[in-house]
């Protein structure tokens, strides 16, 4: 296991951080193992999606965030929810459609959020939509002076949606403090990545938009954590957004109903040998970061927690039927208040007013000197002089001389 994706650049990971990372990965897998049992007992109302083999990504990325930061997990990011502080009982009750679930049974799986305390935005089933939404959360956080970073996840399959591309482009133009984790798990339902995306590294999709982008081994939790830490720091410094492609493999079918017979045996064997939890255990033992007692303690802690939360979920009632009619509109049930961490006067006239600076010479020309962290953004930007050489003369020239708009709609 590498110490970081770039060799020696990353700061060290403490023993406690290692043990935390292991705890959450183990908890992630145990929660899902438990749900598999519930599914076989017919206690899960709808589908069940597994993140087996991808735990290092959910956990390693979310672990790089602060409490005040915001996440929007996708269906295979239960690990990120756990890191953010969601108790396993919420995940059990959601899947079992119980009244005690965060959505009171109105939605299932990991489709729930918490605006007030944990700062989690709920996903929807349509892929990619969280990218513009979390860009907006990042923009609002910056506007309010909150110093937050936002994070969401997308798969290799979801990276072909329009929302992915529109959202990433908007995030780039806004320099939003936003981290996008692109989980390349090789399969979009039954379709291999090679038949969906004609590039080897999906990080290239980010670079195309001027977004600093890296690829990491998604089954190496330390590598993932280090990449995420670096990305969060870059966003915090005002140089977002960042895309991290985490290469991994979805070890189960799309959902429980899917035996995934389309996956070649050799491919499965290759990735089984790289199971992120087994690898990390070996790393912890090999580097003497833990001993058998520490491992046992973690396992006991998880077993006790799951037992209690499972009992809670099993004993919870289904929602009362009349709940179906309630809650379409907010009719005063919510008080909406922005949390200002900067003086409002900064964005209130007359202070907010701007001079007509867009009439300055060269407006609309690329500025090659803008910072972009690890360099991917800067590399795609061309200076006006350079672009003249490379045959874009008409539009570039007009953008330089015109007062306002960039070239054509």
């Amino acid at each position: 296991m590498s110490s970081s994706p770039n060799g020696s650049a990353a700061p060290s990971v403490t023993r406690q951080q290692c043990l935390d990372l292991y705890y959450y990965m183990r908890l992630n897998r145990s929660v899902e193992d438990q749900m598999m049992k519930l599914f076989r007992q017919n206690k899960i109302v709808g589908g069940l999606y597994s993140s087996l083999g991808q735990e290092a990504i959910s956990v390693g990325t979310a672990y790089a965030l602060e409490k005040r930061d915001w996440i929007a997990p996708m269906i295979r990011n239960i690990g990120a929810l756990l890191v953010k502080g969601v108790p396993p009982r919420d995940i059990f009750t959601q899947h079992m459609a119980k009244y005690t679930s965060p959505t009171q049974g109105k939605d299932g799986t990991s489709h729930f959020g918490d605006l007030k305390n944990l700062h989690i935005v709920s996903p929807i089933s349509m892929l990619g939509d969280l990218i513009p939404v979390m860009t907006g959360v990042a923009m609002a956080g910056r506007y309010l002076g909150q110093d937050i970073v936002t994070m969401t996840w997308i798969g290799d399959g979801g990276s072909s949606t329009g929302a992915f591309h529109e959202g990433l482009n908007l995030a780039a133009t806004q320099r939003a403090p936003f981290v996008l984790i692109l989980e390349n798990n090789q399969w979009a339902y039954s379709t291999p990545v090679s038949r969906q995306v004609p590039v080897r590294d999906l990080a290239e999709r980010g670079r195309a938009y001027g977004v600093a982008s890296v690829s990491v081994d998604g089954n190496d939790v330390i590598a993932v954590f280090n990449a995420a830490r670096a990305a969060v720091a870059q966003c915090r410094a005002g140089n977002g957004p960042v895309l991290i492609e985490a290469k991994t493999m979805r070890m189960k079918g799309h959902a429980q109903h899917d035996p995934a017979e389309y996956v070649p045996k050799e491919m499965r064997a290759y990735w089984e040998a790289r199971d992120p939890i087994a690898r990390f255990e070996k790393y912890l033992t090999g580097n003497k970061i833990w001993d058998a007692k520490a491992k046992q303690e973690i396992e006991s802690r998880i077993a006790a927690l799951l037992k209690e939360d499972l009992e809670f979920a099993e004993n919870s009632p289904m929602p009362p039927p009349e709940l179906a009619e309630q809650g379409v509109y907010c009719e005063g049930c919510h008080t909406i208040e922005a949390e200002w961490h900067r003086p409002k006067s900064e964005v209130t006239p007359p202070k907010s007013s701007v001079e007509a600076e867009w009439t300055v010479k060269d407006f609309g020309a690329f500025d090659a000197s803008t910072p972009s962290g690890n360099g991917a953004g800067a590399q795609v930007s061309a200076s006006p002089a350079a672009s003249k050489k490379t045959s874009q003369p008409a539009r570039r020239a007009s953008a330089k001389s015109s007062k306002g708009k960039r070239g054509g709609r």
């Binding site: 935005v121 709920s122 907006g136 209130t348 907010s352």
Partner: protein, 324 residues
């Protein structure tokens, strides 16, 4: 006070709300330096600055998504669709993300999506649409479609302050064609309330937006012929003011619904059902409707004139109904 256009009323509402509350921000294509395709946001950038007047790429899905995300932190974004037709590009984001959040996980999205809509200006099939019913069919959205400068201003202010996502349709035929004096100081108009524009006893004409004015012209013509039509302006399509609709039907016993939206799936069908369910015994004739044709909005003036309802069509339908 000099009379102002509906466009100016909308502009004033945006300026006043942004002045009043720094959580109100604006997003859209070309809304800054250029002032918007119809100049609704002219001067907004100079007054409120780049942090609050956000010019976006041509990415309707990203704009709606970002506005929704901003609303989760307590901001109240006003989003401009350059033409409301382009809302089709972000249908998923509006109907699945924005609309369902409160019901499913208790996430209110206080945001306004506004834009120029409607035909009669020879804008062709992609710049003339009335897509309100796609969204009236979606639980969780409020749909507002004013017909006067005062209502446009007052309803937009209410929309900004509402805790729910509001789609605000601005009929572009009315932008600069109607004028009225607006009062000094605060003016808000409640969402979800219809208004009686003309009292009458013989039949009720129910309409909204540009067709409101067509209906009033028709009512004036009908009056010359001895038929007194009551004209009601819906103003809000969701939630619908069922009380006002039923009260008028119980008074006149006859109902004609006029809208510029196409016939099949238009609000007229929904209102007809509502009246049948709740006031069938009060009806003295069939519920009639005058609407646009079930076609795309055609471009040539001769074709668009055929497509749209007009005073003559409303008068003819009203006369037939009055004869029952």
């Amino acid at each position: 006070m000099a009379p102002v256009t509906m466009l100016e009323g909308i502009r004033q509402a945006i300026f006043e709300e942004m002045d009043r509350d720094p959580t109100v921000v604006a997003l859209g294509e070309d809304i800054g330096v250029y002032g918007g395709a119809f100049k609704v946001t002219e001067g907004l950038l100079e007054r409120f600055g780049r942090e609050r007047v956000i010019e976006t790429p041509i990415s309707e899905t990203a704009i709606i998504g970002a506005a929704c995300g901003m609303s989760y932190l307590g901001l109240r974004p006003i989003v401009e669709m350059q033409f409301i037709d382009f809302i089709a590009c972000c249908f998923n984001q509006v109907t699945n993300f924005v609309a369902k959040g409160h019901y499913l996980w208790g996430a209110p999205a206080p945001m306004v999506i506004r834009g120029p809509s409607g035909g009669g200006v020879h804008g062709g099939p992609f710049h003339s649409a009335n897509p309100e019913m796609y969204f009236a069919h979606t639980p969780g959205l409020k749909i507002v479609y004013p017909s006067t400068a005062y209502d446009a201003k007052g309803l937009l202010k209410s929309a900004v302050r509402d805790n729910n996502p509001v789609l605000f349709f601005e009929h572009k035929f009315l932008y600069r064609r109607i004028k009225e004096e607006l009062p000094e100081g605060e003016c808000t108009v409640p969402i979800g309330k219809a208004v009686t524009r003309r009292e009458g006893r013989d039949l009720t004409i129910l309409s909204y937006a540009a067709m409101m004015h067509t209906s009033l012209d028709a009512a004036a013509e009908l009056a010359k012929q001895g038929i007194e039509a009551e004209v009601i302006d819906l103003r809000t399509l969701a939630p619908l003011d069922a009380e006002a609709i039923l009260a008028s039907v119980k008074k006149t016993n006859k109902l004609l619904i006029v809208h510029e939206d196409t016939k099949t799936g238009g609000i007229a069908g929904e209102i007809a059902s509502l009246v049948c369910e709740n006031a069938f015994d009060d009806l003295d004739g069939p519920i009639e409707r005058v609407t646009a044709l079930d076609t795309p909005v055609p471009y040539a003036p001769t074709l668009e004139d055929r497509f749209l309802p007009n005073v003559a069509k409303v008068v003819a339908a009203a006369r037939e109904l009055a004869n029952y």
